[in-house]
Amino acid sequence: MADSFPATISGPTSKERKYDRQLRLWAATGQQALEDARVLLVNSDGPLGSSSTGVTGVAGVEALKNLVLPGIGGFTIVDPATVTEADLGVNFFLEEESLGKSRADETCRLLRELNPDVQGYSYSKSISDLLTDPDFLSRHKLVIISGPTKRSTLEPLCQKAQELEIPVLYVHSLGFCATFSLQLPTEFPIVETHPDPESTQDLRLLNPWPELAAAAESLGDLEAMDDHQHGHVPYTLLLLRFLSQWKQTHGAMPDNYKEKSAFREFVRSNARTKNAEGGEENFDEAVAAVLKTISPFSLRSSIREIFEMQQCQQLTTNSADFWVIASAIRTFYNAHGVLPLPGSLPDMKAQSADYVALQNIYKAKARKDVEEVTATIRQLESQLGRTTTILDREVEVFCKNAAHIKVVRGRGIAQTNEDTDAVTLKALRSGLAMPESLASIFIACQIIDAVVDEIQSKPAQNQLSVDDEGLWVAQKERILALLTRDDPTPLDEEAQESIDNAIQEIRRAEGGELHNIASLAGGLVAQESLKVLTRQYVPLDNTCVFDGARSRSEMYRF
């Protein structure tokens, strides 16, 4: 085997040192994806009634801060507002000298100071004006919109983004409450979901391939070993050996909990206890691993669903790489009844050479599986007449993560208006029916959206305040009526009270932000942005509500 070790030591570059703490989470590939991305922040869209220059947009600015620091390629701020005194009390990325100037320009300037690697652009105009340039939106990989925003702005923006498959985050931060929704393309596949390492172990003890079975056979007579040897047999080999003995005496592998418990006792009874330590660590590990690892391979339902999706079954020349690889893995599964072996082996008590030899058996099998999948992919590529070749590295990563891939079926920004579909309304109703539900905060944010929509779209209303009692009462009634559109059962008392409480808490701030809550929302929004941009970990699907009064959050699929 050709061992390759670097001949010279090169320390990390200054960029690697600066980003060290995050590279440990998303590695160089994730970092590259961030650096290739420009993020658009639409931070206000006209005044929120009288005596206001618009949404203060602190949650959006704070989100950008958390994206500029880890080094996204660039950002664009669109915000027609000018800086007021009230901005200085809530937005950290403005200073005394900013008063009266363009808020987009000033926040952009102060955010850029955070990281010289990041490009920043600002536009002191309405997003609707910028969208007339057909290339404007497509320069971005993600859009963050600060609410409340009127429908005539929000909807075309979200729709254009959906056409371009650009994800959108729509955020509200109002007093002690915050909520945001994530709009993803209709299919959003993720390969590197980073599951808990404990859940990814795949040792194939019940159906070992020939080389692994041979390794267990070649152990020879365990009884004849001296204590040192006996205490250093890797536990996977011990389990393989005892499983084959069990099969001989019982006619089958241990299947249910009772049999596995009996098998576990059988393993335990083979440990030597009359040695100096009074037991053997490798046997302890074997005993502990029985219930976790002795299970036949079964395909997770989420992976089966992916295999059954039309995109996986009917490839085209233009199918995304993800689907081509997924299809090849489906072929592999159909042929072998298992997914490609991930190939990693947990640490276990063993002599160095024995462990490395066993590790190599797992690695070699994983490599062989990757080769088989790759061969299928190459065949598919030529059948489909694809002009580009999927990188070997991509296939390898996919095979390693095959049991944990995910396809999020994206939905539009959650909204409550006449166009809202029955599914969303149903989800809202069941959300509201839960005790201590936070869905009421989402409803209250929908009401303020409707209030702002009235103010911004009807010139007759624009002298009203965003806290105008009449507007709130009218819009609340409208939205409550909508909630009973498909299901005429009236809302129960608790749900009504919950909505009233949410409205009262939100109206305390009269449309304004508290810095803490905006900063928290900005942190959560940035976290989701990072996951979407790197295509690593698993993003929100699709709405999150945070209640700062009671220090709780909930996720909903609206």
């Binding site: 061992d3 670097p6 030591i9 990390p12 200054s14 060290d20 703490r21 995050q22 989470l25 203060t56 801060k65 958390n66 620091l69 880890p70 080094g71 007021t84 005194e85 009230a86 200085l88 009390g89 809530v90 950290f92 200073e95 005394e96 990281n115 010289p116 007093g175 979901t193 250093h232 276990m348 008590k349 063993a350 160095s352 050479a353 462990y355 490395v356 009233d500 009262q504 808490e505 305390r508 701030a509 009269e510 304004g512 508290l514 803490n516 900063s519 928290l520 942190g523 959560l524 940035a526 996951k531 970990y537 929100l540 999150c544 700062g548 009064a549 009671r550 220090s551 709780r552 996720m555």
Partner: protein, 426 residues
């Protein structure tokens, strides 16, 4: 309608959003709470101590300043490193090497007019009870369990039931990668850091024999180079994990050992991670946790909403998950409880082995313990004569030294208090 309220800063309209919230009751605020000018005055006169000016600390200082607090103190002993710049947003390339507390305080003071931030560059252990007594609330953004335990036991010890002012709420935040937690501690009244110690268990250490004789993982080779090879070959140099030459040396040694055993995967980055026990850290998680802790500070200082009772954990790897619950106050907590904590031990274990296990046991985590029973000293590290005198006990079995069910007191130089355990033989 609400009349206009004015803060001490006098900037008209600057604090509009905050003052509006503080001038109206909410659905969850206490019925007896009086919103308005009095609350605003209380907020502005509350003196707050921030412990740590790192990833959480930078956010906390910004958040407190923009929550209307005017008198903030900050303690941190560290200087700025290049690897801080991906999240500690008050620092720039040119600040590398300068003290964090000073740079952070100066930046926020300059940006937010009317706030006073007093930095102290040094250790929390430098300060005494009189110092901590001047604050209304203490908020921590630390990366060390040891420092948290120290401030926790200090604040518990300060509580004088005759004097309500002596009870200092402690708000603590912590992060690791995409995860974190915020907690509110009312010393002696609610679950404290020590009560919750076993929720933050240290990673199990690799046995020394694996490192010394049978390495299997690249990390084992790095531990060998760090712990054993350095002692053998460079024992006159004090190892410094911030010295690039030292790390390079360890990396090189680890690489050679790995090569010898045909182990793959030793990298410079991994070497640094193992040797410095690096925990991944990003701006967004820090923002979430810091904001959640400062939101609790605002609520406690002003009573404008109920505060967290008492723990919120956050996990961001899969969607946005938080879990808010009340951690239990433990009667056998060595810091705030009255009873000795039960500990199951093997009577055949030697005292030396038991002492080693105290470093790793989730409920103890004591690195340099000295032990005694009510009658006798079992092992005492200091002074040297007493150490010599008690050293032979290290080889004796626990069963020979203590009775089943007997209580022992453990002291450790890192903490000011004794930890009491009741040993039960397995």
């Amino acid at each position: 309608m609400a009349t206009a309220v004015i803060g001490s800063s006098g900037y008209k309209g600057r604090w509009n959003h905050l003052y509006k919230v503080l001038s109206k009751p909410g659905p969850f605020s206490d019925e007896d709470w009086v919103p308005g000018q009095g609350t605003i005055n209380t907020l502005e006169s509350s003196k707050i101590l921030v412990i740590g000016a790192g990833g959480l600390g930078c956010e906390i200082l910004k958040n407190l300043a923009l929550s209307g607090f005017k008198d903030i103190h900050v303690i941190d002993m560290d200087t700025i490193d290049i690897s801080n710049l991906n999240r500690q947003f008050l620092f720039r390339q040119a600040d590398i090497g300068k003290p964090k507390a000073e740079v952070a305080a100066a930046f926020v003071e300059k940006r937010v007019k009317g706030v006073n931030i007093t930095p102290y560059v040094g250790k929390i252990q430098d300060k005494d009870e009189d110092y901590y007594m001047q604050f209304k609330i203490i908020i921590c953004g630390l990366d060390s369990i040891e420092a948290r335990r120290w401030i926790n036991s200090t604040l518990v010890g300060m509580v004088d039931f005759e004097n309500p002012e002596s009870l200092k709420p402690l708000i603590d935040g912590g992060t690791e990668g995409f995860k974190g937690q915020a907690r509110v501690i009312l010393p002696t009244l609610s679950s404290c850091i020590e009560c919750q110690l076993d929720m933050h268990a240290p990673r199990p250490a690799v046995p020394l024999c694996t490192i010394a004789t049978i390495p299997r993982q690249p990390q084992h080779c790095i531990e060998w180079a760090h712990q054993i090879a350095w002692q053998e070959k460079r024992k006159d140099d004090t190892f410094d994990s911030d010295d690039m030459e030292h790390i390079s040396w360890v990396y090189n040694e680890a690489l050679q050992r790995a090569q010898h055993f045909h182990i793959h995967g030793v990298t410079f980055q991994m070497t640094q991670g193992v040797v410095k026990n690096i925990i991944p850290a990003i701006a967004s998680t820090n923002a979430v946790i810091a904001a959640s802790t400062t939101s609790e500070v605002l609520k406690i200082a002003t009573s404008c909403n109920p505060y967290l009772d008492n723990y919120m954990m956050y996990a961001g790897e899969e969607g946005v998950y938080t879990y808010t619950f009340e951690a239990e106050k433990k009667e056998d907590c060595p810091v705030c409880g009255n009873l000795a904590r039960k500990m199951d031990v093997d009577a055949n274990m030697t005292l030396g082995e038991f002492i080693e296990s105290l470093g790793e046991k989730a409920e103890a985590q004591l690195k340099k313990p000295s032990l005694r029973t009510e009658e006798r000293t079992l092992y005492q590290r200091f002074p040297p004569q007493l150490e010599e005198h008690t050293r032979p006990n290290l080889r004796l079995k626990l069963g020979e030294l203590v009775e089943n069910g007997q209580e022992i007191a453990v002291s450790d130089p890192a903490y000011t208090i004794d930890f009491r355990y009741r040993l039960h033989f397995k």
